[in-house]
Amino acid sequence: MTDHATPPAPAATAGSMATALAAHAAKRQALVNGAATRTAQLATTMAKLFAAGRGPDAIAEFFAVQAAVQRRLFDQQRDFAAGLQALAAQWRQLPSANSLTNLMAQESNLAAQYGLLLSAQATSLLEVAEGVTVGYGYWAERHYAEVQATAAPPAP
C-alpha cells in the first residue's frame, strides 16, 4: 500500500490543523505588531525632527504625502467604479443564458468577480496605508540622520 493511500489519523489531522491555525494567528499578530511598531517609530522620529527645527520640511512632506494618497484613492475609486460598471453590463446580459447550467455558471462567475473586486479594493487600501508608514519612515529616518550628522562635533 502506498503512503498516499493511507488516510491520516483524525487526531493527527486535527493536531496539524490546530498548529497551522496557531501559526497563522501568530503571523498575523506579528505583522500587525510590526505595523504598530513602525508607526510608533515614525512618531518618535518626527518628534525629534520637529525638536531639531526641521518641522517645516516635515510639514511640507506631510502635505505632499496627503496629495499622493488622495491621487491613489481617486485612482482606486475610478478602477472600482469601472469594475462595478463591467459587472452591471454582464448582469444585464444574464437573460441571454440558454440553459439552466449556463445561467448558474454566469451567476457564479458574477458573484466570484464581485468578491475579487472587493478584495482587490481592500488590498489596495492596505497598500496605501503600508506605503505611507514605510515611505514616511524612510524619509524621516534619512532626514534625522542628516540632522545628527550636522550636529555632530568635528573630528579632532
Binding site: E61, A64, E130, G131, G135, G137, W139
Partner: protein, 355 residues
C-alpha cells in the same frame, strides 16, 4: 519562415564569442536584476539597458520597516523601490553608491572602475504606475554618481508608456497600459533602441531571423535548487552566421515578473493550472531582440525564472530576485553579488557561451 523555438532541449553550447563585450537588459524585475548583474560582473559587460528598474540594492534602503531583514526588504521593494508615495520617498542614489562601493571593497562584485566606459540606456514610461519614474531617475543618478559620464547614458522619460517592454506588435496592449503581459505596442521596438545605444555600430534588422532559438536545460546552472526559483529551460537565440563560426557578442535579456515561459497566474489564490496562459514565450519570441541580433551576430540569452510560493520561498509572481527571496540566510540576504544563486547561474550561462 517565422522564428520558432527549437523543440529539442539541448545543453547550452559554446561559440566564438568576444569576451568582455557582453551586455544585459531587462524590464521591471529583470531591470532591477540587470543593474545587479551589471555591477556584480562589470568586467564582462560593456553596457546595460534598464527599463523600469531602480538603483542597486534599493530594497535595503530602510532597515526600520520591519523586524526581520527579509520582511523589511520586501516592504521596501514595494513602497520605496517601486511605488514611493512622493519623489522624496524614492530610493536615494547615494545609498546605493555606498552599498556598491562597500560590495566592491569586499570582493562581492567586480571593481567599480569597469563601469566607467560602459554605455547605459535607461527608460521609464511617463504613464508607468508599477515602477514610478522618480525611482528610475535615481538609477540614472546612481550610475552618474559612480562616475559613468552622462554622455554615455541615454535617459528616456518622455514616452507616454505604461509599465512594459515596448514593441511594434499589433497584438500587444495599448502603449499606456499597465497590465500583464506588460508588452505594449508603441510602434517601435524598444529592444532595438537599447541595443543600438549599447553597440553604436549595429546594422538594422535585415528581415526575418534565420538563426536558431535554442531551448536549453537551465537546471545545471543552479544545481536544480528550488530556492533559485528558476525554470527548467532557458532560451538562446543564435544567428545563422554564428552557428557557422562567425565571431559573436552576447546580450542577456531578462524578462519581468510573470513573463517567464512557464509562469502560471493565480485565480482566487490558487494556481491556474487548468488553463495556463501561453504568453510566457512572448518575451523571447516577439520583443524584437532576435531580429536585430541576426544582422549583427549577437547571441541573445534569455534566462527564465518561475513563480513559486512555498513555506520557504515567496516568489508567486515569477520575478527575478532583487530583494533577497532566494537567499539561504533570510537574516542576511545575499541576492546582489557574485555568489547570489541567480547571478551565479546567469553568469555561468554567459561563460558557457564563451563570453
Amino acid at each position: 519562415m517565422p522564428l520558432t523555438p527549437n523543440r529539442k532541449v539541448v545543453q547550452l553550447g559554446g561559440y566564438t564569442v568576444q569576451r568582455g563585450q557582453s551586455s544585459v537588459s531587462g524590464l521591471s524585475s529583470g531591470a532591477f536584476m540587470t543593474v545587479q548583474l551589471h555591477l556584480a560582473h562589470s568586467a564582462s559587460f560593456v553596457g546595460a539597458g534598464v527599463v523600469a528598474g531602480g538603483p542597486y540594492r534599493c530594497a535595503e534602503a530602510f532597515r526600520g520597516s520591519a523586524a526581520l531583514p527579509s520582511e523589511a526588504y520586501m516592504l521596501n521593494s514595494l513602497y520605496i523601490c517601486m511605488a514611493p508615495m512622493t519623489p522624496q520617498m524614492a530610493p536615494q542614489a547615494k545609498q546605493s553608491v555606498a552599498l556598491a562601493r562597500q560590495a566592491a571593497a569586499a570582493g562581492q562584485i567586480d571593481p567599480i572602475e569597469n563601469l566607467l566606459d560602459d554605455r547605459l540606456y535607461i527608460f521609464t514610461g511617463s504613464k508607468d504606475t508599477v515602477v514610478y519614474s522618480p525611482v528610475v531617475a535615481n538609477t540614472r543618478h546612481f550610475y552618474e554618481a559612480l562616475g559613468v559620464p552622462p554622455a554615455q547614458i541615454q535617459y528616456v522619460d518622455d514616452v507616454p508608456a505604461g509599465h512594459s517592454m515596448i514593441t511594434d506588435n499589433p497584438e500587444d496592449s495599448p502603449l499606456g497600459a499597465n497590465q500583464p503581459p506588460y508588452l505594449n505596442n508603441g510602434g517601435f521596438m524598444l529592444s532595438h533602441r537599447i541595443l543600438r545605444h549599447i553597440y553604436p555600430d549595429l546594422r538594422p534588422p535585415a528581415g526575418l531571423p534565420t538563426g536558431e532559438m535554442v531551448c536549453f536545460d537551465q537546471t545545471e546552472f543552479f544545481g536544480n535548487l528550488p530556492r533559485a526559483s528558476m525554470s527548467p529551460f532557458g532560451y538562446a537565440y543564435v544567428p545563422r552566421a554564428v552557428l557557422e563560426g562567425a565571431p559573436a557578442r552576447v546580450h542577456i535579456a531578462l524578462h519581468g515578473c510573470s513573463q517567464g515561459y512557464n509562469f502560471t497566474s493565480l485565480l482566487d489564490g490558487r494556481a491556474q493550472t487548468a488553463s495556463q496562459p501561453p504568453y510566457g514565450n512572448r518575451y523571447f519570441m516577439t520583443t524584437g531582440y532576435a531580429d536585430i541580433a541576426d544582422s549583427n551576430d549577437l547571441i541573445v540569452l534569455f534566462p527564465q525564472v518561475q513563480g513559486l510560493e512555498t513555506g520557504a520561498l515567496m516568489n508567486p509572481d515569477g520575478c527575478w530576485d532583487w530583494w533577497g527571496y532566494s537567499s539561504e540566510d533570510q537574516n542576511a540576504p545575499d541576492y546582489f553579488g557574485k555568489s547570489a544563486i541567480q547571478i551565479q547561474a546567469i553568469h555561468a550561462m554567459l561563460t558557457r557561451l564563451g563570453g
